[in-house]
Structure formats: structure tokens, C-alpha cells
């Protein structure tokens, strides 16, 4: 089973993604920001494979948010 960690600061997009990914049989963990994501050891990813960079500005504060991390277990 493939585990997916979704990190985004929008609660709505997080929820919609979680439902969709669960329906497609992924194991899903969600986090609202990078700090939360990193503090959960079992979901802590080694290397992000997919990154959504949809932020039009402020790359600096966007380092953790908006990334979808996929890891094969």
C-alpha cells in the first residue's frame, strides 16, 4: 500500500484530497503545515516526489505548505 502525506494550509483542499485519495486506496495522512508533517514520525517523508507550487508569491514561506509527498512503503 502506498502512503501519501498531504500538506496544505487550506482545510478544504486538504479534505477534498483526503477523500479522493482514500477512495483510490491510498493510505493518507494530512498536515496543515510543514512543522506538523515533520513532527509525526510515521508520516515523515524521506523525499518528496510531487510538489505543487501554486503560490504566486512568497516562495520563502511556502516551503512546507502546498506539497504533496508520496512515499512507497
Amino acid at each position: 500500500m502506498t502512503r501519501v502525506l498531504v500538506v496544505d494550509d487550506g482545510p478544504q483542499i486538504l479534505r477534498a484530497l483526503r477523500i479522493n485519495l482514500l477512495a483510490r486506496h491510498f493510505e493518507v495522512a494530512v498536515a496543515a503545515d510543514g512543522g506538523t508533517a515533520a513532527s509525526v514520525p510515521e508520516t515523515c517523508p524521506r523525499r518528496p516526489c510531487v510538489r505543487r507550487g501554486d503560490r504566486p508569491y512568497g516562495r520563502r514561506r511556502n516551503r512546507a505548505a502546498g506539497a504533496v509527498r508520496v512515499r512507497a512503503s
Binding site: 494550509d9 487550506g10 478544504q12 483542499i13 479534505r15 477534498a16 484530497l17 477523500i19 479522493n20 477512495a23 483510490r24 503545515d33 501554486d54 503560490r55 504566486p56 508569491y57 512568497g58 520563502r60 514561506r61 511556502n62 505548505a65
Partner: protein, 859 residues
């Protein structure tokens, strides 16, 4: 071990023959018995280059494998181990294959130089770091391989391999540089004549700079301090005459022939300040010189040529521009004049003598002014006409006892008296009359005009000469005194003026006022021509616009003025009240030029003031676009994702999933709705067209309703509102919006688990609604900044909202006659205080009497 010497062949473009020159040098040195090896030279398939390499020892290259491909690179260690005297290494700017010890070949070369081996290398001008941008502009081709200028500049020798663009294109066409199939493309792209010429100029200039460095180093090493002028400096000498404009323009052309030449205009003032130039001309020429990129200087000196040359040497001038002499031919015979003397003394400075319209017309004598007042002149004539006969009558009885010399001395006394009173002409008349009377009454034979004794004749002639000389000197002195007083007054006025302008007082009106009081005028007006000059617009008030005026009724056109001064093509200074003397005019012209400068400054300042807010607005729009594009897209994306998921047929959603997806879409759309409403209101507020319906509002209704509006966040707010509060005057819908915005902002920064508190209390005629959070708070100095649209303090996360909320809230609060201010929560956090006026209905006044006018929002 001494460091090796680096010699670089610099070329303007590939193919000019750098490598060839380098190999040629290698062969020459080899023939002289020097130990030369080829470190690395690319033949690029050019047979003649390959042939040259063939005759030399080549150090084997190092092979580097990168991503499965083998590359050959310069083997630094092998070259150092071989220890030749000289190594030839091509292409200083080459970038080594990743994984090599040094990133760039020039670093390899440094190592080899450090090992005490001389290196001969090549580089193309386009690879120099500092020229990178320029080259890209010229050729349109970005250069990835660069070498720091310093690495080449440090070289002991740089030799330019130069070739004319046409010759290079010919070489290219003959296939000497590239393979035949590449030639056409190369000729029409990189090797266009224009490109090559520009690159060639760059290379020449760069080498010139390097040569200049070497010259500087040489001079420093040899302790040479005199100036060796490399840069052109053109000095133009201004007399203050009308020909100065021509001279300046001519000097500009002289300066323009050399790139980067400086222009300096100089005027030499006599130390006595008397025979100075016309300040009006000088002021105008100063403006002209400065507008043409030059500078204006004034020096004081009695000996004009010497002062001029001292100045020119002081500024390291190379060229001096002088006007041809204005004096007539006769005057030129008497003295050599400034031009000739300057040329004779100029030494290494080139002197240009420029002819102009004024040349040889003769210096116009200053408008003749009587040195003495009319009264004194009349008194002088009276003394002369009465005094001499009276003296004669008085002396006749003593004719026998007095000798002629005593009588002459008496007459001389009277003549000097006349000169002191009435100046030259009465005195001369008195002298001539006196001599006739002396002759008639006192010299033998008396009562005739004949003189028997030649000595008496001699005495009389001397008498006339002495009288004339004395009266001339008296007259001159009087004239000079007057001029000095005048010059002193002018100088005082001008220095006041200069100080005035320097202090930057609100220049124009006060300048005109000063002018008016200095010359006792009724009004002074600065006029500007509205259209192009017409034939008789001087007296047409329609053609002129009053820019600034001081004093009584302004004159509408130059024709109506008593004195008018043209400043430039469109500006005119018109003075009413009295006709100014020609001498006052000079000062007036200086004033006029200053007024024009002040006007220009004022206009520029006004434009700058206008541009400031525009730039600010522009910055805000940009921020808005950036912020809105993100904040609109996020909820839009989640809403779309939810709706698309629901519409999709591939997955059967459970009832709970379906519910959650619907909720997601709903919340996202709500968020979007709120954002769009905020944006619309913000723009209405800024445009001043927000419609307000102010009426008494009960807070105990509005506050719970706005907490309800928060949707899922409502649980994080705790309301504590008493029902005893008076009603406030507000637009209930907008008040709700303010509260929602302020509360959601508070929730955003509140730590989870801590509730945001909303309270209200009444103070005098106001009600204060406080929204209290326990978040990180905001430093007091940043309190106003949070109300700027699209600003989020710290700007580090992008939770919901574009930072529009607080700006809008404050704008709305102010539009309703209230305020919104931040305050520190005791114990940490931020408290937002919304103050609203209490409804006056309790006092029996209708609510409509309150300001209904939508207020204009300003930051």
C-alpha cells in the same frame, strides 16, 4: 619560486587568429631554444592550426567521464610535472567538465603560473565577465563561459589580435574558420558586420583601459606626479558677452568628439569687480552649459590669460576654447589681447580660437553715463563761467605786483575747483577761458592776444595741460566711485538672490517679491507663452499665461510691461511700475534666469509629488493582483476538486464522503463570496461611492449574528455583550462585515484552544466593541501597518484572506463615523477596538442628521 608570467592574446571574435598568434609565438620561442609545450590547444578542425601544433610537444590531456561521455581536459598536474618554461593553453574562459578540480580553466592556469611556469593563453572579448551584458545586447547570444576581468587584467601582457570585420568575414567565407556547412549561418548571425564592429570596439576599448592601468602602474612605480592627460577636458572661457552661447555650443562639439569628455565653462572676474561681464548673459550661459552636461565656474584674477590657464591646468584641461577678440584691429595693435597671450602661454593645452558674430566689432563702450549728477554739472559750469572772470577782475589791480606764475597758480586753483565740482568739461572750458584771459590781461603786451615772451607762452600751455589732466582725473575718479558703488549694490542684490535660491525657500513667489522690492516696482509677473510664437503676440494677453506674479495688478503680456526680459523661448519676465535703467536690467536678467530655474524646480517637484502616490497605487495594485490571484485560486481549486469528484463516475462515494465533499465546495464558495464582496467594497470605498444606510443598530443583535457568520469558526469566539448597551449609529450589514473580518483575523492569530473574546461597553457618546485575542500580538510601531491593504504582518504564512480585511474594516468604520484601533491585550495578544457613535435618537434627534456622505477612504 617566482610566479610565472601570463600573456594573453585577446580577440574580438572567434576566428581572428588568436590561437594562431599564440602558436606562432610558441614556435618563435622554441626556435630561440626555450622549452615550450602545448598544454591544450583546440585545432577546431582548422588545418593550419593543426599543422602548427604538429611541430610542438603536446602534454597528454586528462580524460574525464561525465554522464557516460568522455571529455578531455587540460591536465594541470601533468603540465606542472613536465616543468616546461612556457605552456600554451587555449581558451582561458573554458568551463571544465564537472568533477574537475577547478570549475574554470583560468583557475587551472593560475595553478600553473603559481608553479613558476609562464603561460600564453587566449580569450575572446565576449567572455569577459564585465562585458557579458553588453555583448548579449549586441549579439543577442548569452555567453555562458566567462572569465573574471581581474584574471585577464592581472596578466603581465595582453595583446590584441585585431582584424577588420570585413577581413574576418572573408576568412570565414573561405572556410578558414568553420566547416563549410556552418559558414552561411555564421555569416548572417553572429558574424554580421555590425556585431563584429561593435565587438571590435569593445575589445579596443578594453585593451585601452588595460593600457591605462599599466600607464598608471608605471607612473606610480616611477613616482611621476605631473598630469599625463588621457581623458579629454574642454574648458570654454566666457567673457560675459553675447558670443558666449556660440562658444559653449562649439565647445560641446569639441568635447563630443571624444567619448566621456568633460566640459567646463569658466568666467574670469576682475579682482576689482569693475569691468565684469554682463550677469544676465552669464546666468543664461551658465544654464546653457549645465543643460549641455557641463559645469560652470567662476574665478577671480586680474590677469585674465594667466587666471584662465591656472584654472585650466588645475582641472587638467586638454583643450581651451576662446572667442576671437572682440576688439577692433587698431586696439589689437596696441596690445596682444587675451586670446593671443593665452595661446602663447598655453603650453600643452590646445587652444581653439572661435570666431563669432561679435568678433572685431569692437567692444561696445558701456552706455555713456555722466559721472556726476546734473546739479553738480550745472554748479561746475556756473563756477567756471563766473569764477574765471571774477578772478580776472580781482587780479587785474595787482597786475604790477604779482608775477605771471603766481597768477597762473591762482587760475589753476579755480580750474581744479571747477573740476572737483563740475567734472571734466566745465574744467576744460575754464582752463581754456582762463588761458585766454591770462593772455589778454596779464602777459605782455597786455590787452592783446599776442605773447612776446616765449616763456610765457610755454607757461600758458602747461597751465592748460595741467588743468585738463587734473579735471580728467577728477572726472575719472568720480566715475569709478559711482561704478564701484553700483557694482557693490549689484553684488549685494545678486548675493541676496543667490542665498535666497540656495536656501530653497518657496522659490518663485518670494523671488518675485524680492525683485519687486529691490527695484521699487508695482508688479512683477512671470509669463509663459501658451502657443508657438506669433507675429504680434507681444501685446496680446491671450497668448500669454501668468505663471507667477507679485504685487499689484499683473501685466497680462510683455507689451503692457514697462520692462520685459525674455528668459527663453517661452518664458518672459514683465515688470510694471517704472522703466528700469540699462544697468538695472543686468541684475534683472540674472533674476529672470533664476526665476526660470525656480519655476522649473517647482514643476519638477510637483511632478515628483504626483508620481509618488501613483507609484504607491501601482505598487498596491500589483500586490493586489498577486494576492488575489492566489486567494481566489485556492478556494476555487478546492471547490472544483470537490464538485469534479462528485460528478465523476469512476468512484462510488459513501453518503458521508458525499456530504463532506459538498461541505467542502460550500465552504470554499462561501470564502470566495466573502473575498469578492470585500474586494468590491474596498474598491467602492476607495472610489468614494460606498452607499451607507446609517441607522440605529442594536449591538446585542448584530454581534451574535456576526459570530454566526463565521461559519465553522464560530466555536472559537466567546461573546459577552450586555443588553443594556445603547444603540449605535451604523449600517448594520457593514458593521457585521467589520466584526466578521476583525474576528476572523483574531482567530487566525489565536493559539488553538484559546477563545477570542468579544465585548462591548459604552463610554460617553461612544460604544467600544473590543475583540480580544491571545495571539502573538503586534509591536506598537507596526500598528498602523496592519491596516494597509494586502499587508500581513510578518508576511510569513498565507492563511485565509489577502490581508484586505483589516484595511477594509478600518475604512468602513471611518465611513460610519467610527474608528478601528489596535491595542495590546494585557498579558499578550492583540485587542481591536471598534468605536462607534451612540445613536442620538435617545436625545430626540433624527438619525438622518448624521453624516450620510460616504467618506473617501485614504490610507
Amino acid at each position: 619560486m617566482p610566479r610565472g608570467r601570463l600573456r594573453v592574446y585577446l580577440g574580438a571574435a572567434p576566428g581572428v587568429g588568436k590561437t594562431f598568434a599564440m602558436l606562432g609565438e610558441g614556435h618563435r620561442r622554441l626556435a630561440r631554444g626555450t622549452d615550450v609545450v602545448v598544454g591544450l590547444v583546440e585545432a577546431h578542425g582548422r588545418p593550419r592550426t593543426a599543422e602548427l601544433i604538429g611541430g610542438m610537444e603536446v602534454v597528454p590531456r586528462r580524460t574525464v567521464v561525465h554522464r557516460g561521455t568522455a571529455f578531455t581536459e587540460l591536465d594541470v598536474d601533468a603540465v606542472i610535472a613536465r616543468e616546461p618554461r612556457v605552456a600554451l593553453i587555449d581558451e582561458l574562459a573554458h568551463t571544465n567538465v564537472p568533477g574537475s578540480r577547478n570549475a574554470k580553466r583560468w583557475q587551472d592556469v593560475e595553478e600553473i603560473l603559481d608553479a613558476g611556469i609562464d603561460v600564453v593563453s587566449t580569450v575572446n572579448i565576449q567572455h569577459l565577465e564585465s562585458l557579458n551584458d553588453v555583448v548579449r545586447q549586441i549579439t543577442g547570444v548569452p555567453q555562458r563561459e566567462t572569465v573574471p576581468d581581474e584574471a585577464v587584467r592581472r596578466a603581465d601582457q595582453v595583446e590584441l589580435v585585431d582584424m577588420s570585420p570585413e577581413a574576418l568575414r572573408r576568412r570565414l567565407a573561405h572556410g578558414n574558420v568553420y566547416a563549410p556547412e556552418k559558414v552561411d549561418a555564421a555569416l548572417s548571425n553572429y558574424f554580421r558586420v555590425g556585431n563584429l564592429t561593435a565587438l571590435r570596439e569593445l575589445a579596443l576599448l578594453w585593451v585601452a583601459g588595460k593600457v591605462d592601468d599599466q600607464l598608471g602602474r608605471y607612473r606610480a612605480e616611477h613616482g611621476i606626479e605631473g598630469t599625463w592627460e588621457a581623458r579629454e577636458r574642454v574648458v570654454v572661457a566666457l567673457t560675459g558677452g553675447p558670443e558666449g552661447d556660440t562658444l559653449i555650443r562649439r565647445a560641446v562639439r569639441v568635447a563630443a568628439r571624444t567619448k566621456g569628455a568633460d566640459l567646463l565653462a569658466v568666467h574670469v572676474t576682475r579682482a576689482d569687480g569693475l569691468a565684469g561681464g554682463d550677469p544676465g548673459n552669464l546666468a543664461r550661459q551658465r544654464v546653457l552649459a549645465e543643460s549641455l552636461g557641463g559645469t560652470y565656474h567662476q574665478v577671480v584674477g586680474d590677469d585674465v590669460p594667466r587666471a584662465l590657464l591656472d584654472f585650466a591646468r588645475g582641472v587638467n584641461a586638454t583643450q581651451l576654447v576662446l572667442g576671437a577678440s572682440r576688439r577692433g584691429r587698431f586696439a589689437q595693435i596696441l596690445s596682444r589681447g587675451v586670446g593671443v597671450t593665452t595661446t602663447a602661454l598655453s603650453g600643452s593645452i590646445d587652444v581653439h580660437m572661435i570666431t563669432h558674430d561679435e568678433a572685431q566689432k569692437g567692444r561696445r563702450p558701456p552706455p555713456s553715463r555722466a559721472a556726476l549728477t546734473r546739479t553738480r554739472r550745472l554748479a561746475g559750469w556756473a563756477t567756471a563761467l563766473l569764477g574765471i572772470p571774477v578772478l580776472t577782475a580781482a587780479l587785474v589791480p595787482f597786475r604790477e605786483t604779482l608775477t605771471l606764475p603766481s597768477e597762473i597758480l591762482f587760475f589753476l586753483l579755480v580750474v581744479i575747483g571747477v573740476a572737483l565740482i563740475g567734472g571734466m568739461w566745465p574744467a576744460v572750458t575754464a582752463a581754456v577761458g582762463g588761458s585766454l584771459l591770462l593772455n589778454y590781461f596779464f602777459t605782455t603786451p597786455v590787452h592783446t592776444l599776442t605773447i612776446s615772451d616765449p616763456e610765457n607762452l610755454f607757461a600758458l600751455v602747461v597751465f592748460v595741460l595741467v588743468a585738463a589732466a587734473v579735471s580728467g582725473i577728477v572726472d575719472l575718479a568720480a566715475r569709478r566711485t559711482r561704478e564701484a558703488a553700483r557694482a557693490g549694490a549689484d553684488a549685494e542684490v545678486l548675493s541676496t538672490l543667490a542665498g535666497h535660491v540656495l536656501r530653497g525657500e518657496s522659490a518663485l513667489p518670494s523671488l518675485l517679491a524680492r525683485l519687486r522690492e529691490t527695484f521699487a516696482l508695482t508688479s512683477v509677473t512671470l509669463l509663459e507663452r501658451i502657443d508657438v510664437p506669433g507675429p504680434d503676440d507681444q501685446s496680446d494677453p491671450e497668448a500669454w499665461r501668468i505663471v507667477a506674479t507679485s504685487g499689484g495688478p499683473p501685466c497680462g503680456c510683455p507689451g503692457a510691461a514697462d520692462t520685459d526680459v525674455a528668459i527663453d523661448g517661452s518664458l518672459m519676465l514683465a515688470a510694471c511700475g517704472r522703466l528700469l535703467e540699462a544697468s538695472d536690467r543686468r541684475v534683472l536678467e540674472a533674476f529672470a534666469a533664476e526665476a526660470a530655474v525656480a519655476l522649473r524646480q517647482e514643476r519638477l517637484r510637483r511632478e515628483a509629488d504626483l508620481a509618488g502616490p501613483l507609484a504607491e497605487t501601482d505598487r498596491m495594485r500589483t500586490a493586489l493582483l498577486a494576492a488575489v490571484s492566489h486567494d481566489l485560486r485556492t478556494p476555487l481549486a478546492s471547490a472544483r476538486l470537490a464538485v469534479e469528484s462528485l460528478r465523476g463516475t469512476e468512484i462510488e462515494w459513501s453518503a458521508q464522503d458525499r456530504e463532506e465533499l459538498l461541505a467542502t465546495a460550500d465552504e470554499s464558495l462561501l470564502k470566495l463570496d466573502r473575498l469578492v464582496a470585500n474586494l468590491l467594497d474596498m474598491s467602492r470605498l476607495q472610489a468614494g461611492v460606498l452607499g451607507l444606510t446609517l441607522q440605529p443598530v442594536a449591538l446585542e443583535e448584530v454581534i451574535p449574528r456576526s459570530i454566526d457568520d463565521l461559519g465553522p469558526l464560530r466555536d472559537r469566539v466567546e461573546g459577552d455583550v450586555s443588553v443594556d448597551l445603547p444603540e449605535v449609529v451604523a449600517d448594520s450589514a457593514l458593521l457585521e462585515r467589520i466584526l466578521v473580518n476583525v474576528m476572523s483575523n483574531a482567530i487566525r492569530y489565536s493559539p488553538a484552544g484559546k477563545k477570542v473574546l468579544i465585548t462591548a461597553s459604552s463610554h460617553g457618546g461612544h460604544v467600544e466593541i473590543r475583540v480580544v485575542d491571545r495571539g502573538p500580538g503586534i509591536p506598537a510601531e507596526a500598528h498602523d501597518r496592519v491596516f494597509m491593504p494586502f499587508q500581513r504582518l510578518g508576511d510569513r504564512d498565507n492563511h485565509t484572506g489577502v490581508g484586505l480585511g483589516l484595511a477594509l474594516s478600518r475604512g468602513l468604520a471611518e465611513a460610519m463615523g467610527g474608528t478601528l484601533t489596535p491595542d495590546e491585550t494585557p498579558g499578550g495578544g492583540l485587542t481591536m477596538i471598534l468605536t462607534l457613535p451612540v445613536s442620538s435618537r435617545a436625545d430626540g434627534l433624527p438619525a438622518e442628521s448624521l453624516p450620510q456622505e460616504p467618506m473617501r477612504f485614504s490610507q
